[in-house]
């Protein structure tokens, strides 16, 4: 087994285990904090895909920003420590079956798709290549993104202020 394969299995195991904790833990805080290893596992997977830049921004935005945001929200709305939430209801078995079926479907589809690159032959995801791409052929996409961000910001502020009744 090559080092890459070992790394993949370890990272996948970390991500899935942490993800399971996020989805099933009855302790809200534990659920949120378990996001961190899950996101870091995904970071490792990005690195294995030769996408260092994406890995870097994954940590910066998700682990460093979104997780902070989620923790703030929990701390703001938490009614007491160790709030027990009910993670399971009567439909748990059906949900598990649907999830398993979805996974099987995704694996089947991924296996049959004729990917453009063979395993090991990865395209360039360096910051330079990305920069050339979105200031060149993908420019409208780039400018559009800034508009999306603006809309998201305005929308979120409006909703947050409405909640506080200002």
């Amino acid at each position: 087994m090559t080092g890459e394969a070992i790394a993949f299995y370890v990272l996948a195991a970390i991500t899935l285990a942490a993800g399971a904790v996020v989805a099933t833990s009855p302790n809200l805080m534990h659920s949120a904090v378990a996001l961190i290893p899950a996101l870091l596992g995904v970071t490792g997977l990005y690195v294995l895909l030769n996408a260092e830049f994406v890995a870097g921004i994954q940590v910066l935005i998700y682990a460093g920003g979104i997780t902070v945001l989620i923790l703030f929200v929990i701390m703001l709305t938490e009614g007491g420590t160790g709030l027990r939430i009910r993670q399971r209801n009567e439909q748990a078995a059906i949900a598990a079956a649907v999830a398993a079926a979805t996974v099987a479907l995704l694996i089947a589809v991924a296996g049959r798709t004729p990917w453009a690159h063979e395993p090991g032959a990865l395209p360039s995801y360096t910051p330079g290549a990305i920069g050339q791409s979105f200031l060149g052929p993908n420019l409208p996409l780039f400018e559009g993104t800034s508009v999306v961000l603006l809309v998201a910001l305005v929308g979120a502020l409006l909703i947050a202020r409405k909640e506080t009744g200002e």
Binding site: M29, A55, G64, G65, V68, L71, F72, P127
Partner: protein, 326 residues
């Protein structure tokens, strides 16, 4: 090279960096802080332990190791414990991309990552999560409040730091720290980017929760902030994280603005250390000179002053680089 040799090199490098930072940043750093504060306040500072007080921090560490391991009854033990590991680890992860000098086999750096400065920004942002966890895990009003305020402050100052990093990357044409240093062969970036330098120093001071931006640790206000409930060694580890991060920020500033290890005559590592300690001294000088900012002043300063300034500086620099210097 066969893989086990690589692993050995990595492990050795890690141990060297950890020990180096623990000694240079934490031990000497804390002692330097006490001596500098004493000098500024017209008193001597620690002199009793060891020659001229040099072994003071060693004595303090031994004392802390002997303290009892108290976990308050209501604390969330798992989160409590994870936070203690996460904060210093994230701070120490910063050191992977810092170049300490150059040898005849290449630059003296743990690993010159292609995404150098982006990596640094990413690991710095992990510290914020650790602090939130520490504040929560204690189940103590003051610790939680301290943690939330600290997080809000650090998060606000990450943007100006990011903008400065981008400006320098713009000038150097790369995110790699080694490339940034070599691009300063003729002229240090502080000459062409004095505003960025000042923004960086201010934002870095706030990022490591140092005075005058240290409201979250203000002993008179919030007991000891987010680490009120941590005893003994865990307190020491948080302090290690804070000092390690401060030294890392200073080292990054040396890399980005002061030409890294470059300098005539003396060996590169010596130059690096001289510049590093010069900046650390500036950090300490500022701490013992200025009164503390209020929380609203602190946040306003970042969002309403530093960020607009950094953006203007970025646009100006971009104009010169992209339009004027074709």
């Amino acid at each position: 090279m066969p893989w086990y040799v690589e692993v050995l090199r990595a492990v050795a490098g890690t141990i060297i960096i950890f020990s180096g930072v623990a000694i240079v940043a934490a031990m000497f750093g804390v002692l330097l802080e006490r001596k500098v504060s004493g000098w500024i306040q017209s008193r001597i500072g620690p002199t009793h332990v060891g020659p001229r007080g040099l072994l003071q921090t060693v004595a303090d560490t031994i004392k802390l190791l002997q303290k009892e391991h108290i976990v308050p009854r209501n604390a969330d033990a798992l989160i409590f414990a994870s936070a203690v590991v996460l904060v210093p680890l994230a701070a120490l992860l910063d050191y992977v991309v810092l170049p300490f000098g150059t040898t005849r086999w290449g630059p003296l750096i743990f690993r010159d990552l292609n995404i150098g400065v982006l990596y640094f920004a990413a690991t710095s942002s992990l510290i914020v999560v650790g602090i939130l966890m520490a504040g929560w895990g204690s189940n103590n009003k003051y610790a939680l409040l301290g943690g939330l305020r600290s997080a809000a402050q650090m998060v606000s100052y990450e943007i100006p730091i990011g903008l400065v990093l981008i400006t320098i990357a713009l000038l150097a044409g790369s995110l790699s720290t080694v490339t940034i240093v070599t691009m300063q062969a003729h002229l240090w970036f502080i000459v062409t980017q004095p505003i960025s330098f000042l923004i960086f120093l201010a934002a870095a001071t706030a990022e490591v929760n140092r005075a005058p931006f240290d409201l979250v640790e203000a002993e008179s206000e919030l007991v000891a902030g987010y680490f009120s409930e941590y005893t003994g060694m865990r307190f020491a580890l948080f302090q290690l994280g804070e000092y390690a991060e401060m030294f890392a920020m200073a080292a990054l500033a040396v890399t980005l603005f002061l030409g890294g290890w470059r300098g005539p005559v003396l060996p590169s590592v010596v130059w690096f250390l001289i510049k590093l300690y010069a900046l650390v001294f500036v950090f300490m000088w500022v701490r013992w000179t200025f009164p503390r900012f209020r929380v609203d002043q602190l946040l306003n300063f970042s969002w309403k002053v530093l960020i607009p300034l950094a953006l203007l500086n970025l646009v100006g620099t971009a104009y010169v680089v992209m339009v004027v210097q074709r």
